[in-house]
């Protein structure tokens, strides 16, 4: 069977209607609102076909139809095509006057959640591919240094370095160590800090134990598994606006996922991979497609942002399957564009 023009119109009408109301939609409704001027009986025949083809399904006999995952998928694919063509510009002053990426991200995720009315997440740029702008050590006490690293994009990380206290560091030593470290490490990302590079650094100073401790800390701090994956979320409570997600079971899982964040990290990874394969940088996962295990009945839209200097991250929106894809896609792609401009 073929998905002809008329079927497409009917399918789209069903989906749009369902997105709005969340109620199964019946033949009479479509007959009235599709603009096709067909009787409900005819529509019924077509719907029967659509169901057979797997685009829609009935919650039970004698109920209207709701979109299946496949139906959503079709609809979203259509949207994406259209979207490719005209990228909508979202005006927003959100990124003004923000001089640190982290602050910007927190604001960002809040804005996205507020505007979409869904839950939102954003991952900080993956640090380990991120380049060091400069770094600095200072003495806290005999056994402890404070290490501050500023990355491209003015992201700052701090850590303390524990020493064994055998090497005494006077003021000038610290100064020279700072010089050496900056000299050798500026412009590098974590993966660039190889054994060879370390050896080269050791060669330039006699405070090898200290340097080793510092380098270890840097690697740990920037390494792939560095702590939490730096994910900010917002708008978790928005999910209570959608009855189909609000039963205790679902809500608990969703909130938990948003709180735990390690699952979200999985999502970020997935989005990253998918976008490299495909051509879009915006992904839509519907129901089972989602990398988020054990949260069903949800749809996830992710967008990867790139900041030009190799830093990449992901913004995601999590909501019910019947989310307003069009709006979400608009908001995200507008945002992408703005971020590109703001952080060259």
């Amino acid at each position: 069977m073929e998905l002809d023009k008329r079927k497409v119109v009917i399918l789209t009408t069903i989906i749009k209607n369902y997105l709005e109301t969340g109620e199964p939609v019946g033949s009479r409704t479509i007959s009235k609102y599709s603009g096709l001027n067909l009787s409900s009986a005819t529509i019924r025949n077509e719907m029967s076909d659509l169901e057979e083809m797997g685009y829609i399904l009935q919650p039970h006999t004698s109920a209207g139809r709701i979109p299946s995952d496949r139906g959503y998928r079709f609809y979203v694919d259509q949207l994406m095509e259209k979207h490719q063509r005209d990228l909508v510009e979202v005006k927003s002053s959100m990124l003004e006057r923000v001089d640190r990426l982290e602050t910007a991200l927190k604001q960002l995720v809040r804005t996205v959640a507020d505007n979409t009315n869904y839950a939102a997440m954003v991952s900080g740029p993956s640090v380990h591919k991120n380049k060091i702008k400069f770094l600095q050590i200072s003495v806290v006490d005999v056994r402890k240094l404070l290490l501050v690293v500023m990355m491209q994009g003015n992201m700052v990380r701090t850590a303390t370095v524990n020493l064994d206290g055998t090497e005494e560091l006077d003021f000038n030593t610290v100064l020279s160590l700072n010089l050496i470290l900056n000299d050798e490490l500026a412009g590098l990302s974590a993966v660039d800090i190889t054994e060879g590079r370390c050896a080269q650094i050791f060669a330039r100073s006699r405070y090898k134990a200290t340097l080793r401790a510092i380098l270890e800390t840097i690697k740990e701090m920037l390494g792939a598994e560095a702590g939490e994956p730096q994910i900010y979320t917002s708008g978790a409570t928005n999910i209570f606006k959608y009855p189909e997600l609000t039963d205790s079971e679902n809500a608990s899982k969703l909130i938990s996922a948003l709180e735990k964040k390690d699952e979200l990290a999985e999502l970020v990874r997935e989005a990253d991979v998918d976008s490299q394969g495909g051509s879009h940088q915006i992904q839509v996962y519907i129901g089972e497609e989602s990398p988020l295990q054990n949260i069903a009945d949800c749809a996830v839209v992710t967008a990867n942002y790139a900041l030009g200097n190799g830093m990449k991250g992901t913004i995601g929106v999590i909501g019910p399957k019947r989310m307003d894809y069009e709006k979400v896609l608009e908001i995200l792609s507008g945002l992408m564009k703005e971020m590109d401009q703001a952080f060259q």
Copy 2:
């Protein structure tokens, strides 16, 4: 009417039973489990009295009784007394090998949530009363400095300082500015940075615009309204374990409160005040007593911790009114003790 011994036993039995089951408890149940060897009829008479005295109430005629806020209050007060005497020691290796307070707090709040099965929050020590250990500025570019401040307790704050670019800062200038700033500011807290102090600093260098910008940033960073109040939460999903909190309305409000955090800040402030008035450092708020507006049917237990060097913060547990107060009090007071030891 007097609250004699027998009434106390009955009240306690009601509360304990209700804490476990969450169901109204009837006279027969008490007759069996109170150990009083009284018939249900007698119990009924006593219950009638207790209700008149406001300690318990009936959800409806012909249901069992549940504790009123006043009933809980009585029970908790009793517990607190007992608790004053024998402070239970909680073994926990949680605070080992943690060299930065923030990391410790995140772990801490998670542990509390996991152990209690309620939602937990912890506030970082209030920064503005916190003393500067040392600080450091570095040049990012002509118009931007990086400012790093380490406080007592090894808490680190960073911020960027925007300059107008009129004063050119060479290496030695930065060095001397660093010296001056540390010289003048080390050991001070935000409130100590007065106008007079600033003037004194300006007198020591000709880079006044730069110094002004730096001092402004420091004040902003450490000031009373500095950004978010540094609150970490965990275990929000635990509330789904208690049916009475799980209806969409309540759950939404609670999760929202935990997400927004500004309400929690209110709680922290309140806990701080209350503890100064009273003698305990552990507070229990039941129902309406809670400073958290618009979340009813909850109880909140807060404990203030002090780190000896003037830094203070609050740990809180948020759960249903029928929370296991005994356990929570034990855990919190154990924790207090441990923190005291760990961070002298």
